[in-house]
């Protein structure tokens, strides 16, 4: 959220600056400010409640003061008097708080007057914002007045395009000479700086310089930014940028860097020594430097966390309380006949009206402090059929195989033949009785896994004929004549990218490229509702574990929470910079995790719609997410082939599983969370020892506060098994209630 504020603040302030009557001594003209997004909307609603008006006044004053100072320096005393009189500035205001302007230092003196009107004030205010936010109230000792050179440099914002090369190589040289321990951290600055400088050149129509700049320095960037750089290389004109929302967002939002205080001081000192240095301006304008006290991070630590489109997450983005515990399982009374019928009798099974303990629920009656209240979000109450389902579930759970490093699950792979690469989504019901496949030809097909065939409810006319009083009326309403192994569902007008069964097996959701999410009834195998909201492809959808709610995420960069009986979404989770590619509910239905093409994972609170966690570290769009059954951990897989493990409570990365060589499309924890299975495009399913990965967690205070965990390179030890299919990428994984692993994919010879 904080990152968001940064972006909005920019637009707000720029609007203010436009109306700011800057002095004419510098002869500026308010040209298009480079950071202003093309598609402006009245950014009047800064959610942060930033003080817009007082800032504006201060900005005006500071500009005037800066001009005054300039005049005084050049010994134009008469002009000074006239200006002071006209502007009505009292004498004592000349010693203005140095805290605002001083931090910027002599960013770039003299030179011609630039075209970037009004950026001075914005620059100064942003300096204020960034400096105060960075909690480093370091003042450049000499100046206690807004430095005119700073102000003037802003007018010179774009500087001389030909010099961008020079600035950048200067910085490169400097960083190379710095101490080892600081070098890794300071190198983080390269990429955002490079991109912003390039975009500035493009935005100001210096096409040739932009191309030259790009050609010279793009090779130096980190390898994981390759895709972004390629996209950038195709943008050489200002018009190219229009319509690319991701890039526009990148320009307006601040790239977050985490640098230790010592390294930061080094950098600042170096940049302030220089005259005419645009780099400092750009850093202040576009970068948010989250300063922490402590040891500088090593290259590997930095590499682990970086890679996202907007840098890393600010520390305070991951500080809010998250109720990751599970909801208490409702107490279900066992009906009498069930007890008698059971062949095997578990030891210690309670008689009659005792709550049945299930494998997940805690035995204690009091509230788990980490679990949300039962009533935090409204959940549908259990119907009789749900209670029966739960009883079945508990019965099955007793027959569950306990998995571990010694007992690996058997894997049953369902190959979709003749799909011709058209299989785009798969889902299993929780009791593994039905499979649904979504295809690129816009059909959805449901198969029965068990020998029991699929039947739909009889037609209305036939229903009149049945004996409605008979005991097996629920059987009689089913139509045996049209029963079949599989049923096709037609309705979408584009490839179906997401599929999800409801927990009670009555409904099926499918999301498609046509922008709708459709709800299908599995009793009649017809479409019930089309939820329209995203007007762009919807990449993923999922029912909540308790039914009734579902989420969808799509190309419009938001995820939406819906309820089946509302035709409009209940919550909109906006904040990602690029498409939302993967959406998952937390087991307690109170939180939603979204993975996106901007290479971050965000955790949203369903109750308020706020983003409570931001996880960065992947180097490619995220395509798979899985919550552990105990709700504490999240596993994510992306196109970079790594599986990352996150601790939700602390908001930090706790593990990295390397091994896959291609995009990971499916992740699933076993029923008790002991094994994590991952399926990927490289035709393999890998099993990882998640118990061990989570056990090795050390969360002392330092790691908790700074989030700098030292990842062990133990992927090899954690890998329990790798199973290759015969040229079938693994699209979906599912553990049955007895811990048999089912996998699905289409056969691609």
């Amino acid at each position: 959220m904080a990152a968001v504020q940064g972006g909005l603040v920019d637009t707000d302030e720029e609007k203010d600056i436009k109306t700011d009557p800057s002095s004419d001594a510098c002869g500026n003209n308010n040209n298009a400010i480079d950071a202003k997004p093309v598609s402006t909307s009245p950014g009047t609603n800064a959610p942060s409640g930033n003080t817009k008006t007082p800032v504006a006044t201060t900005e005006e004053q500071q500009t005037l003061l800066a001009v005054l100072q300039f005049l005084r320096k050049n010994n134009l005393s008469e002009s000074v008097d006239i200006l002071r009189r006209e502007a009505g500035l009292p004498e004592d205001l000349l010693d203005l708080k140095g805290s605002d302007g001083s931090g910027s230092g002599p960013g770039g003196a003299g030179g011609g007057v630039g075209q970037e009107g009004g950026d001075s004030s914005s620059l100064l205010s942003r300096v204020a914002v960034s400096v105060s936010a960075a909690q480093a109230p370091t003042k450049v000792t000499s100046n206690d007045q807004p430095d005119v050179s700073v102000v003037l440099s802003a007018y010179n914002q774009q500087g001389d395009p030909a010099l961008y090369d020079v600035y950048y190589s200067d910085l490169k040289k400097f960083i190379e000479t710095v101490l080892d321990c600081h070098r890794a951290e300071l190198s983080q600055v390269f990429y955002p700086l490079f991109v912003h400088m390039y975009l500035e050149l493009v935005y100001n129509n210096h096409e040739n310089q932009a191309k030259a700049f790009f050609g010279r320095f793009s090779g130096d960037q980190e390898c994981y930014y390759e895709d972004d750089l390629r996209v950038l290389s195709s943008m050489t004109k200002k018009e190219h940028m229009r319509g690319n929302e991701t890039l526009l967002d990148f320009r307006t939002s601040k790239f977050v860097l985490r640098i230790s205080r010592d390294s930061y001081q080094l950098l600042k000192r170096h940049l302030q020594e220089r005259q005419n240095n645009q780099i400092w301006n750009i850093i202040q304008e576009h970068l948010y430097i989250d300063i922490f006290d402590g040891m500088p991070r090593s290259k590997s630590q930095i590499d682990a966390m970086s890679g996202s489109l907007a840098g890393e997450a600010k520390r305070d983005a991951n500080k809010s309380k998250v109720y990751y515990g599970l909801l208490k399982e409702p107490e279900i009374e066992l009906p009498l006949d069930d007890e008698d019928e059971e062949a095997e009798n578990e030891e210690g099974k309670p008689k009659k009206k005792k709550p049945k303990k299930d494998s997940l629920g805690s035995k204690s009656k009091k509230q788990d402090p980490n679990a949300p209240l039962q009533t935090r979000i409204p959940l549908p109450e259990l119907k009789d059929s749900d209670k029966l389902d739960k009883i079945m579930y508990m019965k099955e759970a007793t027959k569950k195989i306990r998995l571990g490093p010694e007992t690996l699950p058997s894997i049953c792979f369902y190959s979709f033949l003749n799909a011709y690469q058209g299989l785009t989504a798969v889902d299993f019901t929780d009791d593994s009785s039905l499979i649904a496949g979504g295809f690129a030809d816009s059909t959805v097909r449901v198969w029965s896994v068990t020998p029991k065939r699929l039947r739909k409810v009889k037609s209305a006319a036939d229903l009149n004929l049945i004996d409605k009083e008979s005991d097996d009326v629920l059987e009689r309403i089913m139509d045996e004549k049209t029963s079949s192994e599989s049923k096709n569902l037609y309705g979408h007008s584009g490839p179906v990218y997401g599929i999800s069964f409801s927990p009670d097996r009555n409904y099926l959701l499918s999301s498609s490229e046509d922008g709708t999410v459709r709800l299908w009834s599995l009793l009649t195998f017809t479409c019930l509702v089309g939820y329209k909201g995203h007007n762009y492809p919807v990449w993923d959808t999922q029912f909540s574990p308790h039914g009734y709610y579902f989420i969808s995420g799509g190309h419009d960069r938001v995820a939406r929470l819906w309820a089946t009986d509302h035709y409009q979404p209940l919550r909109i989770f906006a904040g990602h910079l690029a498409d939302v590619t993967c959406t998952r509910f937390h087991p307690n239905s109170n939180y939603v995790a979204t993975g996106s093409s901007d290479r971050t994972i965000r955790l949203w609170d369903v109750l308020t719609g706020n983003c409570v966690r931001i996880f960065t570290g992947h180097k490619g769009p995220i395509h798979a997410l899985a919550f552990s059954p105990n709700g504490k951990f999240l596993a994510s897989g992306a196109t970079d082939g790594r599986v990352l493990l996150w601790d939700i409570g602390h908001g930090i990365m706790i593990g990295e599983l390397k091994g896959h060589t291609d995009t990971i499309y499916s992740l699933r924890f076993s029923r008790d969370g002991e094994i994590l299975a991952s399926g990927s495009m490289d035709y393999t399913v890998r099993l990882w020892d998640s118990m061990k990965a989570f056990d090795d967690l050390e969360t002392d205070d330092f790691t908790a506060t700074t989030g700098h965990i030292h990842l062990q390179d133990n992927s090899q030890e954690l890998l329990l098994g790798m199973y290759t299919t015969k040229s079938s990428p693994v699209v979906h994984l599912h553990f049955t209630r007895r811990n048999l692993l089912l996998a699905a994919g289409s056969y691609n010879p």
């Binding site: 209305a460 006319a461 309820a563």
Partner: protein, 239 residues
Amino acid sequence: MSAPKTIPKDAQVMMQILKDMGITEYEPRVINQMLEFTYRYVTTIIEDAKIYSTHAKKSTVDADDIKLAIQCRMDQSFTSPPPRDFLLEVARQKNQTPLPLIKPYTGPRLPPDRYCLTAPNYRLKSVQKKVTASAGRISVPRLSVGAVSSRPATPTIGSSSVPSVTAKVSTPVSLSAQRFTVQIPTAAQSHVPKTTATPPVLMSSSLIGPKTLLMSSSSLSQSDSLKRKHEDDEDYDAL
């Protein structure tokens, strides 16, 4: 196969573009599709630009016309998702309203029928008009079994399958096509499974009686459209 055929220059250019953008693996059809798209896009833009330049009474098409054409097309066909601040604002407003409480068990939880796709998307053609002797139209809300919940607004009696075989009933049977059924509270009050949305309807006793006979036979003659008698055509206006 003959000697390696030369690839046309356009296709070579397209292959180079794909390579520059980092796409190394693609089916051969992709090039053809991209070329077709390019051709269509460029011709559309140029045609638009010609229109704009004639509108501006210029003799030739110049860069401004092309720019305008591109802009207009972008806004029309290649829209991009809304900007971030707009989304954030919309989200903020939406997220302020508390989550609605869930009514206790009410059957399938679906939006109002207007927003569902459960209404029939066809209408039966009336063949003959039949004078009705019933005391006015009795509104019978249609009941649904299964997924089809019927039209909500104006329940009517549509009698599409009145058999002419059995007793000539002047009053219509309110059975229509496959999807609708009326629950007549006869002795055997039906116990419809949980998918029913609306409660049964009481019809006036004048209409009950021969109905029970007709219902069973009517289902047999569903497809017999010629024999359908319709009460009123006005019924269908209300649909």
